[in-house]
Symmetry: C2
Subunit: 361 residues, 2 copies
Amino acid sequence: MPVERIETPALVVDLDALDQNLRTMAAAAAEAGVALRPHAKAHKCPQIARFQLGHGATGVCCQKVGEAEVFVDAGIVDVLITNEIVDPAKVDRLAQLARRARIATCVDDRAQVALLAEAARHHGVQLDVLVEIDVGHGRCGVPPGASAVGLAQLIEETSSLRFAGLQAYQGAAQHLRLEDERRRAIDLAADRVRLTTSLLAESGLACPLVSGGGTGTFMFEAASSEFTEIQPGSYVFMDAAYARNEWAEERQPFAHALLVHATVISTSVRGRAVLDAGYKALAVDSGYPTVVGLESAAVAGMSDEHTLIGQDADRPLRVGDRVRLVPGHIDPTVNLHDWYVGVRDGTVEVVWPIAARGPGL
Amino acid sequence: MPVERIETPALVVDLDALDQNLRTMAAAAAEAGVALRPHAKAHKCPQIARFQLGHGATGVCCQKVGEAEVFVDAGIVDVLITNEIVDPAKVDRLAQLARRARIATCVDDRAQVALLAEAARHHGVQLDVLVEIDVGHGRCGVPPGASAVGLAQLIEETSSLRFAGLQAYQGAAQHLRLEDERRRAIDLAADRVRLTTSLLAESGLACPLVSGGGTGTFMFEAASSEFTEIQPGSYVFMDAAYARNEWAEERQPFAHALLVHATVISTSVRGRAVLDAGYKALAVDSGYPTVVGLESAAVAGMSDEHTLIGQDADRPLRVGDRVRLVPGHIDPTVNLHDWYVGVRDGTVEVVWPIAARGPGL
């Protein structure tokens, strides 16, 4: 089927660009000598996770128990949940999952440790637990240093848990515009990791894993001597928000591999074209999508089911024309859709379900 | 099951508040003597549409063919698609739907009329077609007046189509802050309708239906003598964006009947509590959600799976505490979820699938 016959709005993967992104990241991790554990919350698709494992990833990251269940069911047997799980029902499911896969998760509070310990005992498993430290994001994580060591000791003293290392993700650094700003933020994050690992060593606690990094900064975590693993997600597809980052050599290292295809449904209002994709097909938390190949056709507004773009006076769009949009933010845009349409050379090659889509659980 | 045992994040309906909102709107439409055709894109749920019909609604509005299919499949046999459908595959499905239900849709371009005519002929049905006029929204719709009459004549001359009236939705008026601003915008919209219906009458074209109005303005369309039908959607649940509108008697007419329940997963960063609901559970196109019952706990930031709120120094939240959020914008928030959990008196009473959820089609 030719691309032009895909019903819109549709989430369309450029399979060649995806492959290129997978190779670029795998090569960067291998060259730096760090493990690559891509964040699956970006794509929510076991098929893409299998490609990542095929390119040398050691496992995947998930953000929720429900996501982890989908990936384990699909045969991905090494999952790190980069988040704190506190609902007793969810903690119970997490422990059950550890019967079938290597499961690690994060804590930043003694209450979480107690919940994990009880569920792991109940199900006769041992859970790997990372202490999350706040390296500048200001979201989850204990302060670097003594607090982290205290939690690590508590974990290590708990027979059903194993202290596996540190989660040290600097989310606030990912979209700092200048490469130098991002480098400085990760230098600071690495200092905070070093402070913590030094204290852990003084306390006789081994810290086999330090995980962190995203698509905007992974090269700095990888180059530091503090991180053993990087966990970028968005690199598989890229998005408009990451494209606004400035990069060395004035180019971004990844290609736009995911577009929303839309159709012009109206051109009645002067100077405007209205597309059949709105908030229910494109997340706008990180800004409007950008329009591919139409220089003057910036997004002028959006609503639930519509995107308004400016018309080019010389080449006006007509009802029925196709328009391709780069999503503002990949993760929540993917989460709106039920499947990917994978295309190569203008032809539909595959359809992959977005199996881990959903708001929670 | 008590409300406290619902796994979070969850989309929770207060059934008593929903019932009150349904009654309030039904009474307002009846009193004004206009038909009520609620917009089902707000709730995407056949069970709620059936309640609306039970309260006197004449049918529902949908925004997409895929939505209309879900509602017709569920036995809702009178659907107006308040949008332009241009993809030939979708137009074909629309015509097929007209074999099983009364289907009306909108046009603002001769190309759309041609597509509808051909599909209706092919399937041996007659489609009701409204001409959409732009009464100030600046999205879809021909200018009021002669352009609309020209399109209406074209429809009327097409044997497989029937000119059913005007779609005249003033979307830009719905969230004007002051009631007076909204009234003036709808006065202007009504003038534009009047201009058009006068010209239609002069041309000998009957205009049985004029449909428009939303939750922010329906009372003004209903009070005008130009509109025969109102099509509000958000009133079933309300949201934070509509709550910012000012209303007569300093009160909003509808109750918050839909909340996202979330759980505190971390309090490690000073002055903050982190909830387990982010962009994948709450749409932010119309602003952040608001927090119920915690005066000082404003939303400080959000990310894919997290919402950060400020801590109250006197009553700090702890890990595991429940927090209820009013979504910023109902429609795209509902679209993130797969089901509603309906509660009454603190107990779960029903679970309704959000059957028409999805980005398109």
